[in-house]
Amino acid sequence: MNSGDAAGSSSGGSGDAGAPRRASRKPKYSKFTQQELPACKPILTPKWVISVFLLVGVIFVPIGVASLLASNKVVEIVDRYDDACVPSNVTNKLAYIQNSTISKTCRRTLKVPKDMKQPIFVYYQLNNFYQNHRRYVKSRNDQQLRDASKANETTLCDPEKTRDGMAIVPCGLIAWSTFNDTYTFQHNTNNLSIDKTDISWKSDRDHKFGSDVFPKNFQKGPLIGGKTLNESIPLSEQEDLIVWMRTAALPTFRKLYGRIYVDLKENDTITVTLDNNYNTYSFDGKKSLVLSTSTWLGGKNDFLGLAYLTVGGLCFFLAFAFTLLYLIKPRKLGDNNYLSWNRNSAGH
């Protein structure tokens, strides 16, 4: 500090004005200011520890079992078709898929392993596709998608920004690379209709993709990425695009293609006619078609149940182990002899 302070403080003392202030210098008593608020700090006694572990085990194991059961109830058909849908005489898959003149229709037969209740969800699953790549994720313009008047907003859309000086709507890599395989299903010679509405998020349709925004200049470049869009349908109704543009977090992902509102019986066969258009061959990705029912827990997912079971089981095990340890070799609580510095001196 400095002299300014010194003089200031001493002037306070020299004046008699300090007198009435004096009484207030005593700190007020309250449990808060004196840090005497009640508090508890549990001491980890063996009984405490064991009972807590038991409790956790008791709660977790049933939850785990329930989730596993629910997951097991889900009937799932996964059919990988990327290799199978390339004719066996083609050696260069990449050239094959890039050749737009060849018809790439492909037929797959699926067997229903168990009864499947409606609704049956139809997904496509891609592997090794980095939708979460930073370049990819950023390459879109939300304003343009939402607002017709901002059609020329193409910032961040590099390199799919403009075509011949005209703004691309929807711009950006994501839209450009929209998945474009199509599926039609036949069940016992009847066509199975796929409901392709309401497969995207409602909020996306209502707020993020404008109902008056129409595709423009889309997929007109020399390099065609994926799906072409009908320029007469507004973006908010292009649900495949909306689904695709909600980018996946992981390189293996499923996206909803549609729903089938038909119950399927065990051992039914379904014939799928698909257009194998999307190029996953260049980056060694896999493509699969997934049909799945759902339960209260969602789709097939054993992980949650297994995690609960593991943790619960581990708790049971620890509780058991501690009980044994406690019974076999009990140790007095708060025994100073175990402290490190006491142990040292005990050696003498």
Partner: protein
């Protein structure tokens, strides 16, 4: 009435002070005036002329603020970004403005700006307070000469160099002044320099004789003087200058210099000429920033941050390498691999053709992305936590001192957690362990010991021996009764019915007793102040003197009035009614002042008629006094010596009193000699005066001895005991002599029975012999060798570490040995020894030595806490890791230099054991928590990167990322840092080893 009193005081006090006055200054080299460094010219009473002559002097407005309105933003920003972490965040914030950024720039810059703004606000508020203080100071009023002998009230800030100002009683000096005159005809005035050096005693300044007759306002109408003096500097105790007045050149010395921020006392008014203003004043020149202290945890934290930075760099590099490989693979021979990324049409950041460059850019991105490893809000959170902790410390009702009305005050909150780490306490003695309140407790008159009170040292000793003093309980009960009967008189604790209440008249040696107390009432330099109720209080230079005068008053010899030439004693006649007073007026002839070399003081007085004898009263240290006794004055020497030894064994300060009757002729001779010596003005003037005094201070007749107790502060022994149990080592650094120090050591249970004392002193006969020869080099050599030897012996005594030792050791070293022990080649050996001892006492140590010892202890990588209350401890306080100031009686200097101010020593226990423990634990847990949460967060981001081909896509939303540290997770951590207690305060105190 007031006029009359003033007239009375208008007497030449300077005759009283033979040594202190004009003693210095004549030796200063005045030839340097006008050369470089001594260029200042001041036209007194003509302030406007300076500008005409082209001198530019600063105004008297002072500003202690760090920033001004204009410089605040740039300067404080600069300060902010000097912190490594802040700078790092700034750089990464700027980088987010480039396309490199993994998230939006706003979300990265906002938290940084929040943090910076908060810190800046804090700085701003602190500075604003300083500004307020400055404004208050600058607007104080003082009277300034405005021509024609009229003085006008002016604000301090408008004072200019050369102004003649009039300062009235109990006011501060607004600038550095040259004293021209005061209401005393000889131009002396009393000054209190508490704000400068922390000393409460009054200092005397005297104007030049030529100016001291400027007594009235009107005298200044046509006053013209030219003062030439040195340039502004920080040295408080030196000043060189000359004054041209009436065609003569007079030398000026510090004796004429009145410093800003000191206070005029006991003087109605002074006139002075302003020579240094504003920041030129010596006190402002002295104002240096105290060294900023950083706690060990903070240092460790920096280390951890660097570690985190490295790991950050590591994983960022790893990510970049992978990113580079994968990006390069995207385009092979013109074939697109991940076609959806359009690697053929890429920017530099993702261009497979320039993969290394892309990889490098990615490195930058990754550094930004992973900066969640480094907690941005850590510093500010820690600061907040510490401030809140400090608030709690200040609020602690158990550390509030009722008497002085002072709570604990943590002045810097930086060091809270260090309190929990203190290993060594370095303590001052006077005012810290003891109250610096002298109590007249015992005396030995004519070989008879009076006074039955039990001193604390005796209590401690009795306790040590395990035998309760027979009369202790009785005395205790007796004491309480007495306190009920009569209010305790401060400074007086003599309990003996034989001499109290006038009973001394029945004692066999009543004449000696009477002389004894008369001496006490006369031989001093106190100034009495009589209030309306006719009660007398005293203003004394030292508490010892006050204790003597009070003792004399209590026993019926009341020192009532002092004038320039006389001392009036009001004596109660023991035989008659108490209310009946007898006034005895002693004519004061000479005062031979106390000095540390003389170690005694004497007065020569003429008794009132009818006796009319000329008496020399003398008191002093036993060592000098016993040699000056007359052969027939040694009647009680044996007993008195015995008593003195007893007293000093019980930790009391002793003085020997003696007197002498002078005959007229002898006095005449002396007076003549003394006068010539005094006015000689030559270099050996002091010696001559000393010689003259020496010649008269002999053949004394012994009266007796006094014993004054330096009261221990409340709860000191218990506190020290507990701290020792907590494993804290306590060193006492004191200026006292060894015996006293050891006694005090016993009294406050620093030394215990069964402790082996290792004493290092330089009192071996060969060294004393050498000292007599006076060859400095050989003395130093021999002394050093002796100290070395003693230290080595000591080390041999102490068993090496690791071996368990049942007995503990105490090291006692005196100042002279300390000088040698602190020399570079010896000091580590000394430290080795000292560290192994449970307690260390350094006697006769100077302030500088205190600081050196502190520095030495710091070398051993242990946290040191210094505690002290006086200006002499300032060095020690600033040097130590933590400086604790006692806001006691000795002024504010120590408190100003300290980090934490407490009212009494005993609060140290709670401060260290409770708050120290808590704060340390809280801060450490909090920092761990902080790093933990940031590292877990950072790792999730990194793991996600592995799934996003290390492209730098964060797993979380931008705003979640940036607010994670600042808002979402900061409160629980702060709460933990402020409130968490692992054990209650009661348990902390009970189990000291927790510390």
């Amino acid at each position: 009435m007031a006029r009359v009193r003033r007239r009375l005081e208008k007497l030449k006090l300077s005759t009283l002070y033979s040594f202190a006055l004009c003693a210095k200054g004549s030796t200063e080299d005045h030839s340097k005036i006008g050369t470089a460094g001594f260029s200042r010219v001041v036209y007194v009473n003509d302030p406007d002329r300076h500008e005409e002559e082209g001198f530019r002097y600063p105004r008297n407005e002072v500003s202690t603020t760090k920033y001004s309105l204009v410089t605040f933003v740039p300067k404080s920003l600069f300060e902010q970004f000097r912190r490594v972490a802040n700078f790092y965040f700034l750089v990464s914030g700027i980088l987010t403005l480039t396309p490199l950024a993994p998230y939006s720039a706003v979300s990265a810059l906002l938290p940084l700006s929040v943090v910076i703004t908060a810190t800046m606000l804090k700085e701003g508020v602190e500075d604003w307070r300083r500004k307020q203080q400055d404004i208050e100071l600058n607007n104080r009023i003082v009277k300034v000469h405005r021509g024609n002998g009229s003085f006008e009230e002016t604000k301090w800030k408008y004072i200019k160099i050369g102004d003649v100002i009039k300062v009235e009683k109990d006011n501060f000096f607004p600038a550095d002044l040259i004293l021209l005159s005061s209401n005393y005809p000889d131009g002396i005035c009393y000054v209190e320099t508490m704000n400068l050096d922390g000393e409460t005693n009054l200092k005397i300044k005297q104007a030049l004789e030529v100016t001291s007759d400027l007594q009235e306002d009107g005298d200044f109408t046509n006053l013209r003087q030219i003062i030439k003096c040195e340039d502004p500097n920080a040295n408080l105790y030196s000043f060189v200058g000359t004054m041209d007045y009436k065609g003569m050149r007079h030398p000026l010395s510090p004796q004429q210099l009145l410093l800003r921020d000191s206070k005029l006392r006991n003087t109605d008014y002074i006139y002075g000429a302003v020579i240094f203003t504003g920041h030129d004043t010596k006190v402002m020149q002295n104002a240096t920033e105290p060294p900023s202290k950083r706690s060990k945890i903070e240092k460790k934290m920096d280390y951890i941050i660097y570690l985190l930075l490295c790991s950050l760099l590591g994983i960022a590099l790893l990510g970049s390498v992978f990113f580079g490989i994968w990006t390069k693979a995207d385009l092979r021979n013109g074939e697109l691999k991940r076609w959806y990324l359009r690697p053929d049409d890429s920017t530099v950041f993702y261009d497979p053709k320039r993969a290394p460059l892309a990889s490098f850019c990615h490195l930058l991105t990754a550094l930004m992305l992973y900066n969640y490893f480094i907690p941005i809000s850590l510093y500010i959170s820690i600061e907040m936590v510490k401030i809140l902790q400090a608030v709690f410390i200040n609020q602690d009702i158990d550390m509030y001192d009722e008497e002085s009305d002072k709570p604990t005050h943590a002045r810097t909150s930086n060091l809270n957690e260090e309190l929990g780490q203190v290993d060594t306490i370095l303590s001052d003695k006077t005012g810290t362990l003891t109250c610096n309140m002298m109590e007249f407790i015992k005396c030995s008159i004519a070989g008879t010991a009076y006074g039955q009170s039990v001193t604390e040292v005796e209590k401690a000793m009795a306790l040590r021996k395990g035998v309760p003093l027979g009369d202790e309980i009785e005395a205790g009960g007796h004491k309480e009764k007495q306190i009920e009967e009569s209010p305790h008189v401060k400074g007086f604790n003599l309990k003996d019915p034989r001499i109290m209440d006038g009973n001394w008249i029945h004692e066999p040696n009543k004449d000696v007793i009477r002389d004894f107390f008369r001496l006490l009432a006369i031989c001093h330099t106190c100034i009495p102040e009589v209030d309306e109720t006719d009660k007398v209080s005293y203003e004394a230079e030292s508490p010892d003197e006050a204790a003597f005068v009070i003792a004399a008053r209590e026993l019926g010899f009341e020192f009532y009035k002092r004038t320039q030439t006389s001392i009036v004693i009001r004596e109660r006649d023991p035989n008659q009614n108490v209310a009946d007073y007898q006034y005895r007026k002693y004519e004061l002839l000479n005062v031979l002042e106390f000095s540390s070399s003389r170690r005694r003081m004497s007065v020569i007085v003429k008794e009132p008629e009818p006796e009319g004898r000329i008496l020399l009263f003398s008191k002093g240290a036993d060592s000098v006094m016993f040699t000056r006794l007359a052969p027939d004055g040694r009647k009680f020497e044996e007993e008195t010596k015995r008593h003195i030894n007893e007293y000093s064994d019980s930790g009391l300060r002793t003085l020997v009193l003696a007197y002498r009757v002078l005959d007229e002729k002898e006095y005449e001779n002396f007076a003549e000699k003394f006068r010539t010596a005094k006015i000689s003005g030559s270099a050996d003037r002091d010696e001559q005066i000393g010689e003259a005094a020496d010649s008269i201070e002999r053949d004394l007749i012994l009266l007796g001895a006094t014993a004054v107790e330096d009261k221990l502060q409340k709860g000191v022994p218990e506190c020290i005991d507990k701290l020792a149990q907590a494993g804290i080592k306590i060193w006492v650094l004191t200026g006292d002599k060894m015996e006293t120090a050891i006694n005090i050591g016993f009294a406050c249970s620093l030394l215990r029975q069964g402790m082996t004392q290792i004493i290092i002193a330089l009192e071996a006969p060969d060294i004393i012999a050498l000292e007599k020869n006076g060859d400095k080099d050989s003395i130093a050599k021999a002394s050093k060798q002796s100290v070395m030897g003693q230290i080595e012996d000591g080390i041999k005594q102490v068993p090496t570490l690791g071996q368990s030792s049942t007995e503990s050791f105490a090291l006692i070293i005196d100042g002279k040995s300390l000088t040698y022990a602190l020399e570079d080649d010896v000091k580590f050996k000394f430290l080795d020894l000292a560290v192994k001892c449970a307690s260390v006492i350094c006697c006769r140590s100077s302030p500088k030595q205190k600081a050196l010892v502190t520095r030495l202890v710091k070398h051993s990588d242990k946290v040191t806490l210094a505690i002290g209350d006086g200006a002499n401890d300032v060095g020690m306080l600033q040097e130590a890791d933590i400086g604790v100031g006692i806001s006691g009686v000795e002024g504010m200097q120590a408190v100003m230099a300290s980090d934490i101010a407490i009212a009494q020593f005993r609060f140290l226990e709670r401060l260290l054991l409770v708050h120290g423990h808590w704060c340390y634990r809280r801060i450490s847990v909090m920092i761990c928590y902080f790093f933990y949460k940031n590292v877990t967060f950072g790792v999730t981001i990194f793991l996600y990167e592995a799934f996003a081909s290390f492209s730098g896509k964060p797993a979380y939303n931008d705003w979640f990322l940036s607010l994670y540290n600042v808002f979402f997770t900061s409160l629980p951590v702060i709460a933990l840092g402020v409130f968490d207690q692992d054990v209650s305060s009661r348990l902390c105190l009970q189990f000291k080893t927790l510390h």
